[in-house]
């Protein structure tokens, strides 16, 4: 792939960004209002003029064909999982089956009002009940709430549950422990839940530093938040000791489920000693990521945490209770110890439908196979990178068998070739790949976090490894190529500093 001169601007690059607000013409429209079929009353009698809007919102005025063409054209300026490999570490970009879109779009799901009488929403409640049972089994913890809307929302639920649990026992605690490898959402959640963060160090093998944990685990600690496998893609073999140390001071152990895709059916957080787990339905259970949401972040908890779960909870009534009411499944609001709601209605049901369809498709052995294959693919990709000599410049941060993802450090590449991880990532764009997660985890210098997922073929992994090898050998010849990349994308490297310094956050009209 040659470096493109300025004159060789691609067609996509020549097509400069124009927003929908800059298109159209006064009077154009797509919508035609239904005819007024009731006697018209003077508007002033219905809503006094002083409460009404003086100036209409300056929305676009476009025809439907213009509208469609605008959004289809700009959609093409996106890279997406359906078109190419997306090994974004910590995000589990696995294939999104279209079956899930079809079933979620059935009117009985898609046009069901959230306040429909539960007697007439039995299918939805049964689905949620079934999904809760499946997630409980996968987590190894008996109780589930589907209400949280994302991983970070599940974390907040988990820490608030911890707060409620301690408060109910008259126990005032002040801090939450998080490893220095943790996702940024963990410490941010801790602050929002009114606790202080205490960081725990990482040992030479990439796991929790047990001595540091022992030193910091005291009666002020409310909770330890942990990801296992952790954000380095490594399973912490000391997990049972870790849980014991934290339980011994009366604190809870929280499992950040971002990396659950490594261990479904293989190992269960509940069995490891965790009290509270969140799932990312948009990761492990393949709800499409939508360009940044929607997500869904159900939580599973142990018996001692159950009384505090967000309400309502879904219940299955025994024979005599459901008799005649039509409510085999119901929403229970009578939860005196509940932390309350975290959002409106019952959570992101549409995401639950998709996750449930996925679990039905895979079943017990399919889920385990998904995790085993995810781990196989990750280890194979790492092996291929080694075979191609890539790891001489991009060595693994911790040289162990990885789980579903692995972290490389670009430090040798930076010192020997003079290109940074960012440059490598940008050059990958010219090769048609979405780059891995970069500069995370923070404790790895020039980090790349690579998560191939189970749905990719061996050929794709081979091609990606070769592309990285090619970029490195190209950089050995001329590091400027990577430093100037990308060349073929709809726009080239963007000035993020000036965007933050002089924010332009809307179209001027």
């Amino acid at each position: 792939m040659s470096r493109l001169a300025d004159s060789a601007e691609t067609a996509m690059q020549r097509d400069r960004a124009v927003t929908i607000f800059e298109k159209g013409s006064p009077g154009r429209r797509a919508f035609v209002a239904p005819a007024l079929d009731v006697p018209e009353l003077p508007l002033d009698e219905l809503i006094p003029a002083r409460l009404r809007r003086r100036e209409p919102a300056r929305l676009p005025e476009v025809s439907e064909p213009e509208l469609v063409r605008h959004y289809v054209r700009i959609s093409r300026r996106n890279f997406d999982l359906d078109s190419g490999f997306y090994p974004l570490g910590s995000c589990t970009m696995k294939h999104n089956p279209r079956l899930h879109e079809r079933v979620a779009g059935l009117a009985g799901h898609a046009r069901l009002h959230p306040l429909q009488d539960p007697a007439r929403a039995q299918g939805a409640l049964a689905l949620m009940w079934n999904l809760e049972r499946a997630l409980a089994e996968i987590a190894g913890l008996p109780h589930v709430s589907l209400q949280p809307s994302a991983g970070s929302h599940g974390e907040l639920a988990g820490v608030l549950l911890t707060r409620a649990y301690h408060a109910d026992r008259g126990d005032q605690r002040r801090t939450v422990l998080t490893p220095d490898t943790a996702h940024g959402t963990n410490p941010a959640t801790v602050t929002m839940a009114g606790y202080e963060v205490v960081k725990v160090g990482t040992n030479a093998d990439g796991g929790v530093d047990i001595d540091d944990l022992r030193a910091k685990a005291d009666r002020d600690v409310a909770c330890l938040m942990l990801t296992n496998p952790n954000t380095l893609g490594l399973f912490d073999p000391n997990i049972e000791d870790i849980a014991r140390i934290v339980h011994d001071v009366g604190a809870t152990v929280y499992y950040d489920g971002a990396n659950l895709n490594a261990v479904m059916g293989v190992s269960r957080p509940g069995d490891m000693g965790f009290d509270i787990v969140h799932f990312n339905l948009h990761k492990s259970f393949t709800q499409p990521h939508g360009g940044g949401g929607p997500g869904s972040g159900p939580i599973a908890v142990s018996d001692r945490i159950e009384p505090y779960l967000p309400r309502p909870v879904i219940v299955r009534r025994g024979g005599e209770h459901s008799n005649g009411s039509g409510r085999e499944f119901d929403l229970d609001y009578e939860r005196p110890k509940s932390i309350g709601r975290l959002r409106g209605f019952q959570g992101n049901y549409g995401c639950c439908v998709r996750a449930y369809a996925y679990i039905c498709s895979l079943g017990a052995s399919g889920l385990r196979d998904a995790s085993e294959t995810a781990v196989l693919n990750a280890n194979y990709l790492l092996a291929r990178l080694r075979q191609l000599g890539v790891c001489e410049l991009l060595p693994p941060a911790y040289d162990r068998i990885c789980m579903h993802e692995f972290a490389l450090t670009g430090a040798p590449m930076k010192s020997e070739l003079g290109i940074r991880t960012l440059d490598l990532a940008k050059r990958l764009l010219d090769h048609g790949y979405h780059p891995p997660t970069v500069y995370f985890p923070l404790l790895v210098d020039e980090a790349l976090l690579i998560e191939p997922t189970e749905t990719e073929t061996k050929e794709t992994l081979d091609g990606f490894a070769e592309a990285i090898a090619e970029i490195l050998s190209e950089a050995r010849e001329d590091p400027e190529v990577a430093r100037g990349a990308p060349y073929t994308t709809p726009v080239r490297r963007l000035d993020e500093a000036s965007a933050a310094k002089h924010p332009v956050l809307r179209q001027a009209l």
Binding site: L51, R53, L59, E61, L81, V266, H289, G291, L376, K458
Partner: protein, 472 residues
């Protein structure tokens, strides 16, 4: 090989050889045997695509959706028509399957959508800045209260009982974490009680929270309420129904500091409550305390216009425990539906839709109030939802009436007694453009007969006696 994986036996052998292990099990050797399972999960075995479809279709068939009955149920989510272009665009791989635009050079489509969405929300609300969306309306409200805490550090919140009950409850839940107390102000003839409001305010109040229109459908007179809050230097947070802003004064014009709301009415389907999106807009001075993703305009190295995620130093992945919020995921796909919907309606269309809703709602309000045993719960101006009181004994009787109507495939609305013990026999009725005059006439007929039967003491079909209140 299971569904959606591609590793053949030959692939596996070659891959294991390259890794240098003999079996897949060896890859899991680091997991202590005590927590590694050999037994399969206690779940059913996998099904083929057609079987999964049939199972999910059967579950769908056990729900009564807005497709199956003439529904006047609203109370926070509304059965507006979702145009076909939205299904098409949301289903496009390019919008459906990418993640957050961490690599802006290959995410210009999604970033431009966010930028356009932010523009549309600013136009609708009259606010200076909007983020790229949050989970939903109630969580947006709680996030706005957290912004107020970060902004002035005061300990109290004053919230109108006209705010959606789920919003108020979410606020209370989150306040357990960041330690604020909430004072609720009652409604009087459908509106926030100005005297009680003024009395509750003092210089400890961080923010006041209102809803426009409020949960009972009433259009609040915001100006005196805002003026009272201003006297004590409290931030003003207004929840707004974005569709109703086609006809109601923009919150920004009225001096609101933060405007949030539920975005479902903008081109998102009901989905039994989600996913939809929450919008979050504010005055310029609050932009660096806002939660969530924000797209901004910039240029590439050759000077081409482009878009990036910006002001990221607010966010959890940079600031960690000092972040303005823990939110990571927005509701990008649902916000796409929102901006496409607003563009589809267009400048005139939004106004025309609102005027139609106002006229049909007035007609429905009059038609129901004329029924024997029905009276207006309040007589305030309304846009597309209104509240009536049924002359019945209690909430259970209202539920029986609703069940009688349901038997005739009409859903008359939401029993207010569930959330408002002060209105045990209230009914909240919502009108959308999908409910014609004929539908409204049918509602009046069915509800009138159901009420008459109930009041005559006949036993209702399918009504349950085993019901409690739903929220505090």
């Amino acid at each position: 090989m299971s569904r959606y994986t591609a590793v053949t036996d030959a692939d596996r052998s070659a891959m294991l050889e390259a890794i240098g292990v003999a079996s897949v099990e060896e890859l899991f050797a680091e997991i202590p045997a005590t927590v590694r399972r050999s037994a399969p999960l206690d779940l059913p075995e996998g099904l083929g695509e057609a079987e999964v479809y049939a199972h999910l279709r059967d579950l769908a068939a056990r729900n009564t959706s807005a497709e199956d009955e003439v529904s006047f149920l609203g109370a926070g989510m509304y059965d507006h028509y979702v145009p076909a272009v939205i299904d098409m665009l949301m289903g496009r791989s390019e919008f459906l399957t990418p993640y957050t635009p961490y690599q802006p050079e290959i995410s210009q489509g999604g970033l431009q959508v966010m930028f356009e969405y932010q523009t549309a929300i600013c136009e609708l609300t009259g606010m200076d800045v909007s983020n790229a969306s949050v989970y939903d309306g109630p969580s947006a409200l709680a996030a706005a209260a957290y912004l107020a805490k970060l902004s002035n550090g005061r300990p109290r919140l004053v919230v109108s009982r006209g705010v959606h009950p789920h919003g108020r409850e979410t606020l209370s839940t989150l306040c357990q974490g960041y330690g604020m107390t909430v004072t609720e102000i009652p409604l009087s003839n459908g509106l926030t009680d100005l005297a009680a409001w003024t009395k509750a305010l003092d210089d400890d109040v961080s923010a006041v929270l209102l809803s426009q229109p409020n949960f009972l459908g009433a259009v609040e007179d915001l100006e005196p309420l805002i003026a009272a809050a201003r006297e004590h230097g409290a931030l003003v947070i207004s929840n707004a129904d974005p569709l109703a802003l086609g006809i109601l004064e923009a919150p920004g014009v009225l001096g609101v500091d933060v405007c949030v709301g539920e975005g479902q009415t903008l081109g998102n389907r009901l989905d039994f409550g989600g996913p939809s999106f929450g919008f979050f807009a504010a005055r310029d001075e609050h932009v660096r305390r806002m939660p969530g993703r924000i797209a901004g305009e910039t240029a590439d190295v050759d000077g081409r216009r482009g878009f990036v995620l910006t002001l990221q130093t607010r966010e959890q992945h940079i600031r960690r425990e000092k972040a303005t919020s823990n939110i990571c995921t927005a509701q990008a796909l649902n916000a796409l539906a929102g901006v496409v919907y607003l563009s589809w309606l267009g400048r005139r269309g939004l106004v025309e839709l609102c005027e139609l809703l106002v006229q049909r709602t007035a007609y429905a309000r009059q038609a129901l109030s004329a029924l024997d045993g029905v009276s207006e719960l309040h007589n305030q101006p309304v846009v597309r939802e209104f509240a009536v009181t049924l002359e019945l004994a209690d909430l259970a009787a209202v539920r029986r009436v609703v069940a009688r109507c349901a038997a005739e495939h009409v859903n008359p609305g939401y029993p207010l007694g569930i959330d408002y013990p002060e209105h045990p026999t209230g009914l909240l009725v919502a009108i959308t453009e999908q409910r014609s005059r004929a539908d409204i006439d049918r509602l009046a007929d069915v509800l009138g007969r159901a009420l008459a039967s109930e009041r005559a003491g006949a036993q209702a079909p399918g009504a349950s006696s085993h019901e409690g209140g739903q929220t505090a």
